[in-house]
């Protein structure tokens, strides 16, 4: 993608299931990815809970979004980041996170990329717009 493409970041900061914010944020991601933009997704604060493996909403009678998360890369949502400090605070290791698609060439599962606070701060300040969810 061209370097001068519009840079849009979507931040996910709320815990899943207790409210609909994460679910509807994922719906926004799919649409934004279909536009010609340099899209970055950032899970931070309680938003990192959305990425934890082993979640099952069946008993709640809620469809959940694990299938959508697993298909992000297939729908051109390529740049998925997670805040390392938010993981550490919650005793979550990067190995416990779901995959967000498969590598086009190797077929290997893709995982959210863990960033430091400094890296995230820089990325945030490079954006043309930030969509908070």
């Amino acid at each position: 993608m061209a370097n001068d493409a519009f840079k849009l970041m979507i931040t996910v900061r709320k815990a899943p299931h207790g409210s609909i914010y994460v679910q509807e944020a994922i719906e926004v991601m799919f649409i934004m990815a279909s536009f010609d933009m340099d899209l970055s997704i950032v899970f931070l604060d309680d938003g990192v809970y959305a990425l934890k493996q082993g979640q099952n909403t069946k008993e709640l009678g809620i469809k959940g979004f694990s299938a959508s998360l697993a298909a992000l890369a297939d729908w051109d949502v390529k740049n998925v980041y997670v805040d390392g400090d938010s993981l550490t605070q919650r005793n979550i290791t990067p190995e416990q996170l779901v995959s967000v698609g498969e590598d086009e060439e190797t077929g290997q599962p893709l995982h959210p990329r863990v960033l430091t606070t400094d890296e995230l701060r820089v990325l945030m300040h490079q954006q043309d717009s930030i969509l908070s969810s």
């Binding site: 509807e24 926004v28 649409i31 934004m32 279909s34 536009f35 717009s129 930030i130 969509l131």
Partner: protein, 144 residues
């Protein structure tokens, strides 16, 4: 961003009563509103911000209602007479030429469909939000 253009300002402000903003540029601003009226303050904050932005000569590219924000668009609300009527506020801004859009997918979940809309508000998809953002210098999100 563009240099001030009288015809655009008149279209947006409607009343010709414009205060000059300091830098002399018109910012194109998209407003994203994520919460329902009354339950949270976000619809009020967004409204007051938009009023000030118009007064200062800026252009509101659009107001996109998402999550419970779509409930702002229902004509079925009927608050006490001495309270503000939040749906009417959006309808009035729509009448002044501002594009007020409730998300179709979020709306269907919450019973916000064409037949319950206040005038001058429309329903469309998230693609509208994408194109508003692309056309704007700023995105300002109000929610909780």
């Amino acid at each position: 961003m563009q240099v001030k253009n009288a015809s655009i300002l008149n279209l947006v402000a409607g009343n010709g009563n414009i205060l000059r903003n300091q830098s002399g540029v018109v910012m194109k601003i998209t407003i994203l509103l994520l919460e329902s009226p009354y339950n949270h303050q976000s619809a009020d904050s967004a409204y007051h911000f938009i009023q000030a932005a118009i007064r200062k000569g800026h252009e509101i590219t659009g107001v996109f209602l998402y999550n419970d924000g779509v409930i702002n668009a229902t004509a079925l609300m009927d608050p006490p007479q001495d309270d503000r009527h939040i749906a009417s506020r959006w309808s009035e801004l729509g009448a002044r030429g501002i594009d007020i859009v409730a998300c179709i997918a979020a709306g269907k979940r919450r019973g916000i469909i064409d037949s319950v809309l206040v005038p001058n508000v429309r329903i469309s998809g998230l693609g509208q939000l994408a194109s508003m953002i692309r056309k704007s210098d700023r995105l300002v999100t109000f929610g909780d």
